[in-house]
Symmetry: C2
Subunit: 889 residues, 2 copies
């Protein structure tokens, strides 16, 4: 018999923390917490296998599920000492989802289940608080109707507003037990009016309705969107947790709160939490009331005069602090804990490893490793490489002049700037068109996820540090300022009124998610400082990793930045990028538009000294490290003159008629420039271009070497090779020039000649090509284009359709397509090494900075990855993780 | 000791016909002819290995070569009874090249070698004809100076002209022995003047000079060009044949001639040759004197009053006819024979399998098979599939009105039309730009090869049926009219004067290479009739071949033509080609420019009935055969309106503002349309398009099936698939429509859904894709583009550079790149069949009509090839040859 249901509570449980796949994260942790003796309200978990069964069997359950639920419920009843549906002493339960990984706000929850017209009276008697009982009942009716029965919550909010108006009430606290009772009846009636059938009074019907709703919500659009963004497979399913209710809203000795054992924004080792007296959990999370601080220190820091829990409930706070210590020690990670105090008794409702910013992840990992709680290797694995991005990007210049509109909560760190937009849809649309946007909302909800993902930053006028906006923004690495109450956001007119000023739709705003500042206009930024924890973790990673990390850089600035970020050389210097400067492009144009070799050589002679100086600069910065220079691979059309004055100035420089140049430009037009006369094909047609570049490289290397110091080993890379013969011809020419210059100099210089593998044919012919190439660098951008037959420039038209349809799991230009492009890389690496055992292998496409791709490169045995400067640390960490994962496997 | 030299003559030889690789074609045949007792002037062959050695060792020879040559020469001296360099009885020799395959006119020849101021006297005495001796001597000096020493022949022609003028001579025959002696001295002096050193008098120096010149000429540009065009590897090398001279110019009992044992133009079983009395061989080949017919019958047919050899020399003719019979029986093929009659004695100088037109190849192969000289299988292998092209193209309409300018020799069959050009360079250049040209020359020379290759047809005013122009044109399959003496070609003014008319440069001419007619302007043509020998050979091929042959066709005309040519179904119906008609394109534009699905559906509804009718027509024509319909894969930009009036008419049809459509067209612009939003990507984005097409296909198939008869099995092909998921999604939609229509019709209909494999990723993922696909069709055009990263539209800019540099052996869009593209096809075939054993595999790129590619497809086990209608017979023959070659291997 399959065990579909696992009980917990009362200091023991059928499951444990290792059973996340079966019980979901929440269920496994509830079981674990029970096992280690924490005060967990008793309950049971219906497994994720039931969810899978449910979807595999046309929304039906295993036949023996019902009996198992009944048995578990009976056990809970016994432990709690109350009976489900009992008129005198009714057991109330919560029903929540719980997937393998946390999906905050994505799944529906029902509280206070088990209340009906009869049991509500029992609750009133048992609690001695009819007002609480009827408030709970109306909350249950509202929540159940909304989540399970699909009756929109505004129906009930409207009734409440009318009732308050009619009675002259302002705050909910002014309502009496009678008021709530009356409203509960009105709510029931409303649901009946909408649905045409009464609100269920049978508590078992209520329970199964809620269970169905949880399983049903696994497949709603916003859950699918979240899973898509976070790469969570749909077949994992969710578990359902049914747990006896405890109440934080049973008067002033009751409370509810959410706490992190460390600061999830900074990683500081201080409790970081919020609580509300006489409230239920959703009051904290939903951001409807602004919660109070947990500790006195944080209250003082925030300048709040509302008492902290440490001050208001010192005993319970003490118990809670003990729980924090116990849980962090047990789980060896920072925990995100939900608790409720019911009439002075502490209950732990949930614990899980807390979401954190990259900065916090880094600090927590390093702190814990230094405190020997975890190993250095574990610390390395604790930080998501891609999240480092948040640390590596500029923050606001502290000396910049800021036009501060208001200060909200520093909900997710980092600076962001963009135009204000007021809906998630518009945010997504404008971002698609390349606009940077700040999503402005009163508060966010799961329906806004796509807009938050598209935005540079998120600004809300309501909600705390654990509000939906804050939690999701931190998870996504988006800067966020939440609860900026001074902002009056008008969704209709799409304006923000603040301190007498009006911000219009599409005005530029800047947010500082680390300080909570909201500024008008664009504010200058500064580079991040990469020391302390960052360099410690990077140091540990560097000790572990096998894969080298280089950078793609052409400018001295990029090269220096990358070297500071730990780049171990340049993996790709795109020489055509050096030619866009205004004072150079005229010579490049002259070269391109020349009808003959003499004309090209004239232009090349002018380019030689500047090109040589480029390499002198790069070699000097990268002293002692390899520098791979790719010979010209121009997108010809980008260099061709467009404007009349451009033609005129080139014509003047060449002393040729404009009309002739226009005709020449016309003949150079290509239908598919990506598949055109580019890369080494130019080298074959016009060998003088590559000869000039080889000369510039070798002369520069000799010049830099002349004053001693670490050796320069230039790696000359021939692009877009498709056959051995192409490389053979060009290598011969390049080597002839190089050897001649070296011999004439009287000095000695090592250099290498290799090629990009960026065409499927090159990958297949790698065994032949390796006879000529001393190294391969995989140009996975172009290889992706040709393997898929998709132009990066044109893919936007259907990329979304493809991700929606599940054809692409991810944009293949972001993370390497391991099945297709990856197989070609693997084939090329194997065939290349079979010919030349010491063939140096690297990757220099954008994928070099993508953690999953870095892991792939490690696995297939490449020597290095090369990526943009800001991605170098990401690649270093990802390379170390790849090594550790290999070791574990 | 390596044997570098092989002797022959006197009824025996060291070599034989099997040693072509070592002795070259000519040398092996001279040995073979000696062995079978034919009268071959004694001589020896220096092997091709010496040539290879020569180029591998900086133009030096094996050390023991000289001794071997000396020994062989001594043997020849003994056999002939004359001594090389002897003052009294000198041995004279010819020195000729002889590669593994014949390269007519490409390699240099020296005759009469061994003459000097002393031996010429001996020759005069021995022959009793001082005039002959001095004429021979001056010929030798001229030829040797030109070919070996590099002194241009015009130097000597000029001296001859001056001498004739000074003496009032018109014809060469008027010159006396003294005249020739004087000229010989003048020729020698001229050479000394030009070179600054005397003409060599040492006969051994002469001999080695000539041998060097033969080997040296292997690497001259025109030889390399010929090899490139004919795919002959450079490392085969040439042999050198040194053979004792015999003289056709020893008076009126001497003669020289060239003969084919059958007619090389028509294949008719009649001797086909020319001879000249009192002449040397080059007089016939060079076209300086117009030769006489060999047989009386041919003389009568040609209306000539010059006696045929049969009439003038009946005895020798009889001997010659016996040799023809003997040689054809021995070699089991039509022979091309050079002979000389010296004072009534017949000598056979050379035999080889004769070059022939496709028509002749076909007739000879079929005749010989029917006469049981060769087997049917041999007959199949005797016809070059690509050459069938000549038979399949239109000839002149016999009823067309022709403006005949003159009638020349019918040197190479077929009709050609184009603009008259006067140089090979211009012919090549204009042809590259898509012009059809007729190359007009007084006579052609090897320097004209590239222009002849580029031209549609060749017209000369001088030279016979075996002139350079005629032989080369037949080999290339170019129609040629030679010796059209009525034409006065003026190279300076680039005009032709004929019968009082003047043809200007670039005027249009039409040639009929089968009749010799030269016409002004363009003349109507008729389709070839494919019966008789053609259908016999095709029948034999069809019995042998395993590979099926289908056609690529969209129009009823193409489909019918292909079926007549033996197509076994349609392998590729490109539905986008059906949409270019003026009355349809407006609806297509409306579909493309619609902003929404409703707009597209409106346009599709208009296209449905016409599209359905297209399929009804095709299915009716192809009844009983499979028809693969590729769903829309439009090059979007080709359909977008360009002109203002096009926009206006679409706007009117859509009732939308022109500006809006222009904006929409702008957003549809793609940088690289080949890698853009096309193929199944459109199907994913706009499923309604494929749904309409599926409906049209199935409804048409049902309609055609309704009246009974052979079944229609439509094969629905989804293009540009890169992953299983894409195909799965589209197949589901297509099948749903199809099944619904079939069910509603109450009839039954089989159909298949499959895909194009035209992206490298698709090839690699074939194992997955085959789960969804019932067939694969390899789209090797696109697969070549993506595997190489080369756009077919843009490759012209560097294709020539690539072929010149030896990077491409052939245009990869013409013959499949077996190493790269081919490997992907192989991988896909293997992986696809591993998943689905009965997966149907075909190829539908242009390569389907290329014989080498067809052989490749056979070898890797495809089920069929599909090609353009006119290539169907070529593919059928190539498929049979592939099967036979496999059997032989």
């Amino acid at each position: 018999m399959t065990n579909w249901v696992y009980t917990f509570g009362d200091g023991k449980a059928e499951g444990d923390a290792s059973m996340k796949n079966l019980l979901g994260g929440k269920g496994a942790n509830l079981a674990e917490m029970s096992n280690i003796g924490l005060p967990v309200p008793p309950g049971f978990t219906i497994t994720t296998e039931v969810c899978t069964y449910y979807y595999a069997h046309q929304d039906t359950y295993p036949t023996d599920l019902k009996d198992q639920v009944t048995a578990a419920l009976t056990q809970v009843e016994k432990t709690v000492g109350a009976t489900f549906g009992d008129a005198e002493n009714p057991l109330l339960v919560s029903v929540r989802s719980g997937a393998r990984v946390s999906m905050p706000g994505m799944m529906d929850t029902v509280l206070n289940l088990g209340l009906n017209d009869i049991t509500v009276e029992g609750l009133a008697k048992q609690s001695g608080d009819p007002r609480f009982a009827y408030d709970s009942y109306r909350r249950f009716i509202q929540m159940y109707s909304d989540v399970v029965l699909g009756v929109d919550h505004y129906n009930f909010e409207e009734l409440l507003e009318i009732h308050k108006e009619e009675n002259g009430y302002v705050l909910d606290t002014e309502l009496s037990a009678e008021d709530w009772k009356e409203l509960a009846q009105a709510f029931k009636q409303k649901t009946e009016d909408v649905l045409g059938k009464p609100f269920p009074q049978d508590v078992h019907e209520q329970l199964w309705g809620a269970v169905n709703a949880v399983f049903g919500s696994w497949m709603i659009d916003r859950a699918k969107t979240y899973r898509r963004i976070h790469n969570i497979p749909g077949d994992w399913g969710t578990a359902v947790n049914v747990q006896s209710m405890v109440f934080g809203n049973m008067g002033d000795t009751s409370a509810t709160g959410v706490t992190f054992t460390r600061d999830p924004a900074t990683g500081e080792n201080t409790y970081y939490g919020e609580y509300l007296i006489n409230a239920q959990g959703e009051d904290v999370v939903a951001g409807i009331r602004t919660p109070q601080n947990l500790t006195k220190a944080s209250r003082l820091k925030a300048g709040s005069d509302m008492p902290s829990m440490e001050e208001a409930m010192p005993d319970v706070y003490g118990e809670l602090a003990d729980v924090f210590v116990k849980l962090e020690a047990h789980y060896r990670d920072m925990q995100d804990i939900e608790f409720t105090v019911q009439k002075g008794k502490l209950w732990i409702l949930q614990t899980r490893s807390g979401k954190r910013t990259a900065k916090a992840a880094l600090k927590i990992a390093v702190d814990m490793a230094e405190d020997k709680i975890i190993t250095e290797e574990e610390a390395i694995l604790r930080v998501e490489p891609a999240a480092l991005d948040q640390l590596l990007h500029p923050t606001l210049d502290p000396d910049a002049v800021k036009d501060i509109l208001t200060i909200g909560l520093p909900a997710s760190p980092g600076a962001a700037c963009g135009i204000a937009v007021f809906t998630a849809d518009e945010a997504e649309e404008l971002a698609k068109n390349g606009k940077k946007v700040i999503l402005v909302r009163q508060e966010t909800s799961p329906e806004d996820i796509h807009g938050m993902h598209a935005a540079e930053g998120i600004l809300t006028s309501r909600g705390g540090m654990t509000s939906h906006a804050a939690v999701v923004a931190r998870g996504m690495g988006r800067p966020c300022v939440s609860g900026a109450g001074a902002l009056h956001i008008d969704m209709d007119s799409k304006t923000i009124k603040v301190m007498g000023r009006v911000i219009q739709n599409h005005d530029i705003l800047t947010l500082d998610g680390s300080s909570g500042e909201v500024m008008f206009g664009e504010v200058e930024t500064v580079q991040p400082e990469l020391s302390g924890d960052f360099s410690k973790l990077m140091g540990w990673a560097d000790k572990i990793r096998r894969l080298k990390v280089r950078t793609n850089a052409e400018t001295p600035l990029d090269a220096r930045t990358a070297r500071e970020f730990g780049a171990e050389g340049i993996g790709l210097c795109r020489t055509e990028h050096m030619f866009f400067d205004a004072d150079r492009i005229i010579n490049v144009r002259q070269m391109i538009l020349s009808e003959d070799k003499a004309g090209r050589e004239l232009a090349l002679a002018k380019l030689l000294p500047v090109q040589k100086q480029d390499f002198v600069d790069l070699f000097t910065i990268m002293r002692g490290l390899p520098v791979t220079v790719r010979l010209l691979d121009p997108p010809l059309h980008e260099f061709l003159p467009q404007k009349a004055e451009d033609f005129a100035s080139v014509a003047a420089a060449m002393d040729a008629p404009v009309e002739q140049l226009k005709m020449r430009a016309e003949t150079l037009h290509e239908f598919n420039p990506m598949l055109g006369h580019r890369g080494c094909r130019l080298g074959i047609s016009y060998p003088e271009i590559y000869e000039m570049q080889a000369r510039a490289i070798i002369e520069a290397a000799l010049e830099v070497s002349r004053d001693g110091g670490d050796a320069i080993v230039p790696e000359i890379m021939i692009p877009l090779v498709g056959s051995r013969k192409e490389l053979e011809i060009l290598k011969t020419k390049v080597s002839a020039i190089a050897d001649e210059i070296i011999a004439a100099s009287g000095a000695s210089l090592d250099y290498m000649v290799g090629t990009m593998i960026e065409l499927p044919r090159a990958a297949l012919q790698a065994g032949e090509i390796a006879h000529e190439a001393e190294f391969f660098s995989f140009g996975t951008n172009d290889l992706t284009q040709t393997t898929y037959g998709i132009s990066r420039d044109d893919s936007a038209n259907f990329l979304d359709d493809y991700i929606q349809a599940g054809i692409f799991e991810q944009d293949p230009f972001v993370s390497i397509d391991q099945d297709g492009v990856g197989e070609l890389v693997k084939i090329a690496a194997e065939r290349g090494r079979a010919t030349r055992a010491d063939l140096k292998l690297g990757i220099c496409g954008e994928h070099g900075g993508d953690p999953a791709s870095v892991e792939f490169c490690h696995r297939i045995g490449l020597d290095y990855v090369s990526c943009s400067p800001y991605r170098v640390p990401i690649a270093r960490l990802a390379a170390a993780q790849a090594q550790l994962k290999e070791k574990q496997a």
